[in-house]
Symmetry: C2
């Protein structure tokens, strides 16, 4: 990998060769991939991108930490739509709002970006089985991307994960271990199994390549906006890997000369589970938190990528916003009704935080904002039904109809 | 619309002006849109397409029955991936199999293609409200596409529709009328309401523009295959509108000179609801059928586009295949495990039929086949769970793990 210099511990700055199965530093810190941006400038430019017909995250291959010979995994991940949400922008009082609908990825979440890179690195490592612990989306994305690439997957999920996510895993042929415990216990068991059985580890806690996949969402936001970087990017935060990846993506593009400025980040957590926001606000190390929110994908009491996430929030002069489950439900409805985008609770938490930030005057009225919707609402229809209420039930006759619509062209 | 000549009744051949709110013929037949292909040749070519950066169904605008000034609706519909399913091809014994994953559309089904055109035509008609009766996907696609375009939608659904689909409707802000009756009763009530309240009618039974939207899936299959048309295209059939649209798409491309041959169609219905296949086989008019299948999107006992569908099967020298619910479940698993594609029951019925046709020697071993997956499996996770079984539940300790994986690198 000529374009990759090495990996570096985010804590102690110790350097490592960027081997396919690199995990955490001896000090326990997560590692980060460092690039040769001068070399990348030769491989990639705005012009080259405008000619590129690969409408997937792999159009940014010069920015991805894989060998030239490594095949891009089969599922078409990325290049999700960036919608202009003009009505919602007016409603909440910002100049411009765009919605990046990452629920339209192959397994319906942003995590496909990470899993696509994980499958590529597992291929380089010569592994036949990939494992991870996940509250759901990381798992289903791994299962789907591994299946398409002809690899096996073993998934550890906490027993509370919604049935839609479990169904996906099983249909993709994953071996699914439902652990009657917390996410932390799932994680520990997965780590033990990886060590014991020699599987490739797709846990965002230890694998430095996952946020490298996730960063492609920022490349797309930049390119789909004509490289005019927004003032703010709002995103929901659970484990911390996604916001870290988003920040890395903008930094990569900036370092390579594709964009001329960096956005501020809005880090949104649930009120009932906000260890990263708390740490970012206080400057103290993150403390284990309760996991009290219906937004299951961000109910992560012990975030494993807290360091990367907190650094990202700090470097990006970021805002931290906490939202209630009620505010998340409300955002789900507003987003659907004004933009035709259906996000899962954790997926729209970023939008909920943005709405709250705008309402509280934390962002300027002339701001240009992007909200990343990280997962599809079909993943958790029970939450959607709670948010949206019930249909109007009637018997099949005209009289019943007239009671609902008494006048012409209602 | 310079490229549109007129509309024509598929039954009595009476011609009509292609007005935005055109419905059925006075004789009761559905109408079909006729194009000026000589004119279209000026507007569109293989070269022009290869330069086109609009990665949505609207890249084929010269083939769509809309005015030049009509804006394309906001949601990014179409340009779904066409995957090479090599392992599945070998498994079922055909030379080449490609999977068109139309579950990755904005509201997760192929119906978005029809609804996108419906919203455009409603705009031309000056309507503010669009209505339809649907078992689910047509409805959610209408609700989402209408919401994004700032239009109201009123949806009549039979009370048996899965909750995932209802949740989508409500989140998109549709007025949802759940009718305690059959699809036929839903349909009747919707038609009455449209007439009474002056809404735009998105029922596939009467609106000739919907199959014009659906045909774009064939344009994409052709273009994504480098204009090398497959020998067979397999698709599930309910109301009949989709298979009619698919055939129209290939005929359009052929008439305009973009492709040099036409594929054969494989029309797949559920054993418990096969009025179109029965009619195509016997040559007799379709008879009302029971609706006995878990594949709810194709449980249409009185198909309203039977004429267009039967004509398509006839013209395409098509095969008819009926599949059991068990075969549909099996196809769901095989597709997920070999290709990483998660389809809903009706969505994978086409694949089930293709597998059955190959097994029974109905298609040649050297055939090149495309199977269209019409809807995302997340729409009906209960069916997926029934098909896929349950995860392995364990307490959070290593001993439990060793019982499942007794050896290293399982």
């Amino acid at each position: 990998m000529k374009h990759v210099i090495c990996a570096e511990c985010v804590k102690c700055k110790k350097k490592y060769e960027a081997a396919p199965n690199l995990t955490t530093c001896v000090c326990g810190g997560v590692t980060d991939i460092l690039y040769d941006y001068e070399y990348i400038r030769f491989l990639l430019s705005k012009n080259a991108l405008s000619d590129c017909r690969d409408m997937s995250m792999w159009r940014y291959r010069p920015f991805l930490p894989v060998e030239d010979a490594t095949p891009a995994p089969p599922l078409r991940v990325g290049w999700s739509p960036l919608y202009d949400a003009g009505r919602l922008a007016r409603e909440i009082g910002v100049k411009e709002l765009k919605i990046k609908d990452d629920g339209l990825n192959p397994t319906s979440s942003l995590k496909d970006r990470a899993s696509s890179v994980a499958v590529a690195k597992a291929f380089e490592a010569g592994a036949k089985t990939i494992a991870c612990a996940s509250t759901g989306n990381a798992a289903s994305s791994l299962a789907g991307n591994a299946a398409a690439a002809g690899m096996k997957s073993v998934i550890f999920v906490p027993s509370r994960a919604p049935s839609g996510k479990i169904a996906q895993l099983l249909i993709f042929g994953a071996v699914v271990i439902s652990v009657d415990g917390t996410y932390a216990e799932c994680f520990r068991l997965s780590a033990e199994a990886v060590k014991k059985y020699g599987w490739y580890d797709r846990s965002a806690a230890v694998n430095p390549y996952l946020s490298e996949g996730k960063k492609t969402v920022s490349f797309e936001i930049a390119e789909q906006s004509g490289f005019a970087v927004p003032d703010y990017v709002a995103v929901s935060v659970g484990d911390g890997c996604t916001i870290a990846g988003i920040w890395k993506g903008f930094k990569d593009m900036f370092a390579s000369g594709c964009i001329e400025r960096l956005p501020r980040l809005i880090s949104v957590q649930a009120e009932g589970c906000r260890p990263i926001n708390r740490a970012a606000e206080t400057g103290l190390p993150p403390e284990p938190s309760e996991e009290n929110t219906t937004a299951d994908s961000i109910a992560v009491g012990i975030p494993r990528n807290a360091d990367k996430a907190i650094n990202a929030i700090k470097e990006a002069n970021g805002l931290t916003v906490d939202v209630s489950d009620g505010e998340i439900s409300e955002a789900m409805k507003i987003l659907g009704q004004t933009s035709g985008v259906f996000g899962e609770p954790a997926g729209v938490a970023g939008t909920a935080g943005l709405i709250k930030a705008a309402k509280n005057g934390l962002i300027e009225k002339n701001a240009r904002v992007v909200s990343v919707v990280t997962g599809n609402g079909l993943k958790d229809t029970a939450s959607a039904l709670r948010a949206a209420g019930n249909p109007i039930s009637i018997p099949p006759d005209t009289g019943a109809l007239e009671k609902i619509f008494p006048i012409r062209d209602a």
